[in-house]
Subunit: 249 residues, 2 copies
DNA sequence: CGATCAATTGAGTGTGTTCAATGTCAGTGG
DNA sequence: CCACTGACATTGAACACACTCAATTGATCG
């Protein structure tokens, strides 16, 4: 199960994560469970619905809608955001192929965020009510969701720590590192030149900053020779220094 | 199941949450499941170990230790914290009777925080490995943990939002409101005079501030006549204005 | 090509931090 | 009972970082 592109049990769940093995994919276990012989025999697989492709800017789920499903991202990129009472937007996270979105609505009535595509995106829908069925064939499925919830909690906790102890430049470098390691991003030419599917404003919201501050921090990093910033393309020129900057807080 | 003090199936799980009904208790469902006829019949209840009482300042679990259990707090108060690389402390949360701690270690090898008692505290230990057993009698138990994980994710997300969009005074007022509504705190005399089991420094760390800033913000709120601050005792004098301050961000 | 939105840059402001000093309380021992 | 201690809490002054407001540039698209 270590070879790339292992999610090929069926076309609808073929989660291709370019340049990465399935080991890094959150939903690997999920896919295996859902397409196991036993699950297929019991018809579990049939409730999984492929949806999309969505164009950029479409909503996969909408805040306040009844939360009925989780979604695995097959291709594309998604931002999960919420409009605050003062009209500002707060982006809770960015998600990429192999990620599962909607976990924060487990055991809640409604979605608390909008999930909006950043580019052409396809997903698989997993009905939430299946989570709670006592079906023998779903036990492994439930455990996988539980694992992902544990991960999600840790991720949120880490984010809180970073938000408090890192300055503008450090947050941006950490963000780029996350994109490179944890997530799928389109990597151009060299290994450390990446294309951002989201706007600078989105990044600002995610990192708890203003767009102006993002601009200034990027310029500062560029002047230091650590990165090259051109529109939606970022090149990390000095990874050693970058990593040192993140740690020395 | 709406009457107070419903956790009286057995002494070891009697989670008395003063002045609050069990509806507000995170672990109500858990207790019901664990002490259901079927669970008891299958011997599930016997794996739940009462521990304590711990004195103030003791560790319930230790960072880097192998994570083997969750803990329900029966009495007392607990802070969950981590020492950062620069020597600073980051407090992830405060927990009170009826709360479940250790959820962030679900599906992880080790604890990522220290859980330290703030006063005399007793807990019940729930072995994590039971979570993943295919035992029929544990299905409901698993679902409850899943629900709590969902809640925990939402809580962390909310915290992130607040950390970004509220100033020092607003954060403190929101913190006090949380203590009053969601958590158990020792309430003295009137309904809105409460005793804080944690230090001002702990509060600062939790809210992402410096102790000095907490002091100044409290003074400001006191000068405005909204609160009265004396050592470990806080009195909310003008709740209407306090709530208005939190919302108008 | 102009219109529109995103991104950048500049100048001035403000909130919370840093560093240092002082004040307060609880516990201890003379 | 009082002085001494150490941890916590408060206060003050100067500073730094990110924010706000405003103007400009740049990219994209009909």
């Amino acid at each position: 199960m270590n070879k790339p592109h292992c999610h090929s049990g069926r076309a609808s769940l073929r989660l291709v994560r370019q340049k990465q093995s399935c080991d890094l994919c959150d939903t690997r276990q999920l896919c295996e469970d859902l397409w196991s012989d036993q699950a297929v025999m019991n018809g579990v697989g049939d409730v999984i619905q492929p949806k999309g492709p969505y164009a950029a800017g479409e909503r996969i789920y909408r805040i306040e809608d009844q939360s009925k499903s989780l979604f695995i991202i097959k291709e594309g990129a998604v931002k999960v955001e919420k409009v605050l009472s003062d009209g500002n937007c707060h982006i809770s996270g960015f998600y990429f192929p192999g990620d599962l979105i909607g976990l924060e609505s487990v055991d809640d009535e409604k979605y608390r965020y909008d999930a909006i595509t950043l580019e052409q995106t396809s997903v698989c829908e997993l009905p939430l009510d299946r989570l709670y069925e006592h079906d023998e064939s779903l036990v492994s499925f439930q455990q996988t969701i539980m694992s992902l919830l544990g991960k999600r909690v840790r991720q949120a906790d880490d984010m809180l720590t970073h938000a408090r102890y890192l300055n503008a430049e450090q947050r941006l470098l950490l963000f780029f590192e996350m994109l490179c390691t944890r997530y799928f991003v389109q990597i151009i030419d060299s290994k450390h030149k990446l294309r951002l599917p989201m706007s600078k404003g989105d990044i600002a919201s995610y990192l708890g900053m203003r767009p102006e501050s993002v601009s200034r921090a990027l310029r500062k990093l560029q002047n230091l020779g650590i990165i090259e910033n051109h529109l939606k393309t970022i090149e990390i020129k000095d990874i050693a220094v970058a990593k040192k900057m993140i740690c020395n807080s």
